[in-house]
Symmetry: C2
Subunit: 281 residues, 2 copies
């Protein structure tokens, strides 16, 4: 139930950032209410409804990327943090664990949740333990794998993901981002600005939804998704879109809202590294 | 714009408190989206839309008063505070000002805003100055008036209003509450439990809207409203419903949300005691 007011809050924020005038605001909000009603009636996925809500803002304001400036700021902040975070991982007794935790903590760079949480909080988050942790399963599978597909989440967080990719060893890593801007999700431009091109093959998943909605994705992505030795999914949007998937996935995220925390079965705010079978137990 | 997600949040909270089952939740949320879209299209008043949203919850759950327990707790807490607040007013250099401030501070007892703010915060609020204050106009009109109509806001706050009524001198005070439960607004039962019967004539305004919507009110109330020497309106809901009224009104409230603070022209969180002509300047 809490998703509905939250989505409404997000669309109001997007409309304001896109500088919608009064008429556009009214049309966006009215359209948003109608889309939410339709979504509820048809039991549509949250990420699909969010996609349509964001399209409304683009249609009414012609602003393609209301969060451009925030994404750039987050990437810049994250790049400033990079050397310190990298050093921390390199000096950790378990570098892979430390890198996974860093990538999960990157999830704090979010426009909607934890608005007060800034990069200063990352250090605090890194001291947390994973509420669910499938590190040994991951380590074992990693040792037998070549092709790793990572599903990106937010811009800025991308920089944190670089640190993880650098700890995966010599693998073919494909880093999949959103096709066109949706909220603060990373696009190819954001991934490049984050320096990800140096450590992974960057691709667009083909979709422009807050979570990787397979039905919206490109043929190429779907093939990669089914053939990769390991799929590592970042963030809540991807979790929402893929948690029922039949292919094994490693989900790495911070449980930033109560509905997702409840669904996973962890307290709000915890870091999670888990497979489908570890969840909700 | 911010009113829409806020109303949605309130209706989710009401549905949860009324223990709506999954089917009822879906119907309430879908209906809420449709009502909000209609309200936006028809430029309906926020308080009218809230009334219809709350009706949805009652219809779907048969729970007439989802906030019964919270209202009772707030009244109980306020009654515990009463002696200390009363003493504070009695020992003030300007008792009327202190009583007005106490009545405005009572607005902190709200389920929706300041959820963390408990009665302990009242002392802090009492140290605030009014951001807008028409005390001298009020004092002067009071000296020439007999019939005072007070429009109540939330249950609990009612106890704080008693302190104000006791400082008005020997007047005919009519204290108007909501007809049937709407959110945590005071009803006759709440006013009686707050001890208001001892200091004022209690009436139902006839409406069941979060603000006193004249079109929904009883004939008797509308007569009182137009004939009273002074109308004192408590809280944001009444301000929203009546700020465009042609009859002079004294508005006493805490500006608890940004849209109302912006409309009045004061910073968020400030106490306000103002007439229509003082506002938005």
């Amino acid at each position: 139930m809490d998703c509905i007011p939250c989505m409404m809050r997000q669309i109001v924020d997007a409309a304001r950032r896109a500088k919608a005038d009064e008429g556009a605001q009214r049309r966006i909000l009215t359209g948003a209410c109608e889309l939410l009603a339709r979504g509820l009636n048809n039991e549509e996925m949250t990420v699909a409804v969010c996609r349509d809500l964001n399209r409304l803002v683009v249609e009414e304001t012609s602003v393609e990327e209301p969060y451009r400036d925030i994404k750039e700021r987050h990437i810049k902040e994250a790049l400033t943090l990079y050397p310190r975070l990298k050093e921390r991982v390199v000096n950790s007794p378990d570098r892979l664990l430390a890198a996974l935790k860093t990538a999960a903590a990157g999830n704090v760079l979010d426009i909607f949740i934890d608005v007060e949480a800034r990069v200063q909080d990352v250090e605090g988050i890194l001291k947390q333990e994973f509420a669910l942790c499938c590190l040994e399963e991951f380590r074992q599978q990693l040792s037998q794998s070549t092709d790793i597909l990572i599903l990106a989440d937010n811009a800025g967080e991308t920089v944190f993901d670089r640190i993880l990719i650098e700890e995966l060893g010599k693998k073919n890593v494909v880093y999949a981002v959103k096709d066109s801007p949706i909220a603060n999700d990373a696009t190819l431009r954001d991934a490049r600005e984050s320096g990800l091109e140096e450590v992974a093959t960057l691709i667009s998943a083909g979709c422009s939804t807050a979570g990787t909605l397979l039905a919206d994705c490109s043929e190429e992505f779907r093939r990669l998704f089914s053939e990769a030795d390991i799929v590592l999914s970042k963030g809540m949007g991807n979790y929402e879109a893929l948690s029922e998937s039949s292919r094994p996935i490693f989900f790495l995220l911070k449980a930033k809202c109560q509905p997702v925390a409840d669904d996973i079965g962890v307290p709000l705010g915890k870091l999670v590294f888990a497979r489908q079978e570890d969840i909700g137990k």
